[in-house]
Structure formats: structure tokens, C-alpha cells
Symmetry: none
Subunit: 223 residues, 2 copies
DNA sequence: CTTCCGCTATGAGAATGCGCATAAAACCCC
DNA sequence: GGGGTTTTATGCGCATTCTCATAGCGGAAG
């Protein structure tokens, strides 16, 4: 799950990205409207958190262009206390939710969860054999028993589930786990896979290795 | 967008088909499992709304056969409140979403939208007799059973499938398998072909040798 | 028909480097 | 600073790849 934050106040941006990063999302940050526009064109995000008071290119303008391109990415707008007018206009332009500054990080997280859920097609849970993954709460269960996973493990599992039964290269994994700027070695991926495998093996879930190409979460036998 | 509804309760079926028809889909209705099976074989649908409690042929069976034919149509299953077990089994068999009766038509519509949207992103598998190959996931199945191939074998199969029924020279194979700097001997190609043949023979897939010219993946009968 | 030569099949062995495991270091949040 | 998590470091095992040697096959020429 990849999220773009368009926010000029770097203290807020920092807090938000930490908080969401902690929750297992990979977060990119754009400090002004043009950077946001560029990032949106260059990558595919699952959610945009958009401050309306952006320099260079206003948040409303970014949103307008985004929707003009028929993008359906969920957008959560951030607005100052007195920006009622803009807020309304934002919702008119196709924003999905809004928050008024200052806000609680916990509440932001909750709303982000709600919005990303919608993006995953409303599916209540992704099931793979005895494993079920709830994209809303980002909670994993094996045979109904909650499984304790770290942020990185959740991120890894998420993309493997999204591409269940297909091969996923290490580069693809790196892409999904990290925003740009931060990169992680292939070795790190191997370590995550190792740990995730250990936690999943009790449920009979297997991650197959294809040497030189990548990993593949085995789809449970449809029989 | 064409949708098939397999549902024996004609009141529900009527409501659903009106609602979806209203929304611009063209809707067919099958009142029992065999009719659904027949319709699925006769036409190509973009979505199947499947009641699990069908007479004549159960919904689970319909779904199972559908997936056995390597169909990737999105399937939304309808289930009674107490059908937890069947629901889980349905998702295991490759259903994409489910709804519990009774449900709101508006919600059904929303989920149908989500599923049909997702479908357009799906890549069609390349099928050759009992073999199917997903070019995106680079995963091979024979009669629905995943086949364990190495990187080189996958690469070889990939290009043979792309030129199915046509002759592929060894030089072409070398080109496709190796990057710029690296080269590989013709003898190596022979070895890959040998190993790939061994793994494919159980599925009745044949790679013909054309002496002095190259190899050719035989197109299955009936096309 | 027989012989010969070159192409292909096949098995076995060797080399490479990928991925695994484990440990240890950096990091981060409370 | 202490628990957790993330990341880097490192050596080993082994699957995969590739070469080699040999046997099989097919076509062409004599």
C-alpha cells in the first residue's frame, strides 16, 4: 500500500509519514503542488493525503487535474480550521474525506484505513488457505487465531496476497515496501521472507522461491 | 458489460437483474446450476453473481468447474446467513467477493462495480492444451496444478508460447534468454529443451524438433 | 543398402552464485 | 536505556546452470 502525502508543513508531514509508516504503509512526501502532480504521474498510489494550502500549485488544482485524468485514487484532504469554503469545494471535486487541522494521528490512521479498504474492492477479507487477511484492520489470522506481524511483514504479505499465485520479483517487493529515497537491499527482502515464512508455516502457507526471479505465494489448491 | 445471475429464488433474481439492468449492465438469468453451466460455456460474461444454494448443480460445483476451465471471470457469491462454511469454501475456490442474504441492492451494485472494474486489469492467460501460462505472474499450470519451473525453463516456455505453432531458431532462443553481454551455447539450449520437455510431457505438450532450424511448440488440436 | 557426417538427445559432473540462516549492528519508540 | 524491529554482514549449502562426453538419429552420398 503506497500513499502520497502532499503537505508543505514538514513537521506535520513528518508526523503523518511516521505514523503511517509505522502502520506498514510505504509513504512518499511531496512538499508542494507541482511535486505532488509529478509524483502522481510517475507512480501509482493507493491513496493521496492532500493539504489544500499547498504552494506552487494549490491542493484544489492538484485534485482537479487528478480527477480530470479520471483517476479514482481515494483522496483525503487536510484543511485549516477556517477553510470551510475550500473544504466544500474539495469534496465537490471528488475528494473522499477530509480532516481539519490540527488532528489526531490516530484518527487520521483510522480514516486512511477506511479509504484504502474501499480501494481494495470492498472485499471483506483476503483468504488463502487457512490464512485470512483483513485489509481494513490490516490484521492477519490463521485458523481464526490472530497472528502477530511487524509492519514490514504486513507490507510483504499484502503484496504477496495481492499477487497470489504469481511470481513477484524482489525489485517489485522493494518498490512496494519503500517509498523512493529509501531503498532496501535484496538481502533485506530475503530476511523478511524468512521471518514471514516462519510465521506462516504453521498455517501451511507456502512462499515458493524461484531462483533468480523472485517469490510466489502459493495459491491453495482449488480442490 | 454482461453479467450472469445464477439464483433460484426468482424474486431475488428479479430484483437484482432490474437493479443491475438499471445501472447499465446487460443481465442474463440462470435459475439452476446446469443452466448456469450451460450459459457460461455458451457466452462470455464479465461477471458471475452466484448463489451457492442452487438446485441441480450446486453453486460450489459451478464455481469449481469454472475455475477448472481456467476461467478468470470475477465471481461474487451470494450466501445464506448461516452458510459460513460454504462461503469460506467458495472463496477458497476462487470467488472474488461474497454477500450475505439479505442484502441491500445498493451495496450489491457497489461491489459489482468494484469487481467489473478490477476485471479490466486482469491479464488473460495463454492456454495451450492442458497448459496455462500467466504472462504477468510468469506461472505455469497443467490442468490447474502449478508446475515447478526454473528461471531458464520459464524463459524458454515464454518465447515458445509466444510463437506457438511456429518455428523458433536457437539463435532467437539465445537472444531471448540472455541479456546483452552474456551468451550461451547452442548445446545449452538443447539441454533446456530437454528438461522442459520432461516437465511438460505429463500434460501432453510437445516440443517438436526441426533438424537444423530450431524448435516448435505444437499447437493443440482443434484450433 | 551401407556408410558417413553432422545435428540432437541425454546423462553426469563441475562451477557458479543465489538464497538461507544466523548473528550482530543500527534504529526507533516507549 | 531497554524492548522491539529493521537492516547490514557473512559464510555455507545447494539448486541451477552450463560444459562435456557419449550415444542416438537422420539425411545424403556413394
Amino acid at each position: 500500500m503506497r500513499i502520497l502525502i502532499a503537505e508543505d508543513d514538514d513537521i506535520i508531514a513528518d508526523g503523518v509519514s511516521r505514523s503511517l509508516g509505522q502502520a506498514g504503509y510505504s509513504v512518499d512526501w511531496a512538499a508542494h503542488g507541482e511535486a505532488a502532480e509529478e509524483a502522481l504521474l510517475a507512480h501509482s498510489y493507493d491513496l493521496l493525503v492532500l493539504d489544500l494550502g499547498l504552494p506552487r500549485l494549490s491542493g484544489l488544482e492538484v485534485l482537479k487535474r487528478l480527477r480530470a485524468r479520471h483517476s479514482t485514487i481515494p483522496v483525503l484532504i487536510l484543511t485549516a480550521l477556517d477553510g470551510t469554503h475550500d473544504r466544500v469545494r474539495g469534496l465537490d471535486l471528488g475528494a473522499d474525506d477530509y480532516m481539519v487541522k490540527p488532528f489526531e494521528l490516530a484518527e487520521l490512521e483510522a480514516r486512511v484505513r477506511a479509504l484504502t479498504r474501499r480501494a481494495t474492492g470492498n472485499s471483506p477479507a483476503i483468504v488463502c488457505g487457512s490464512l485470512s487477511f483483513d485489509p481494513v484492520g490490516r490484521v492477519t489470522q490463521i485458523d481464526g487465531v490472530p497472528l502477530d506481524l511487524s509492519a514490514r511483514e504486513i507490507g510483504l504479505l499484502e503484496i504477496l496476497l495481492a499477487r497470489m499465485g504469481r511470481l513477484v520479483s524482489k525489485d517489485q517487493l522493494v518498490d512496494h515496501l519503500c517509498g523512493w529515497g529509501e531503498e532496501v537491499s535484496h538481502n533485506a527482502i530475503e530476511v523478511y521472507v524468512h521471518r514471514l515464512r516462519k510465521k506462516l508455516e504453521s498455517g501451511g502457507i507456502k512462499i515458493a522461491t524461484v531462483r533468480g526471479l523472485g517469490y510466489c505465494l502459493e495459491r491453495p489448491q482449488g480442490e
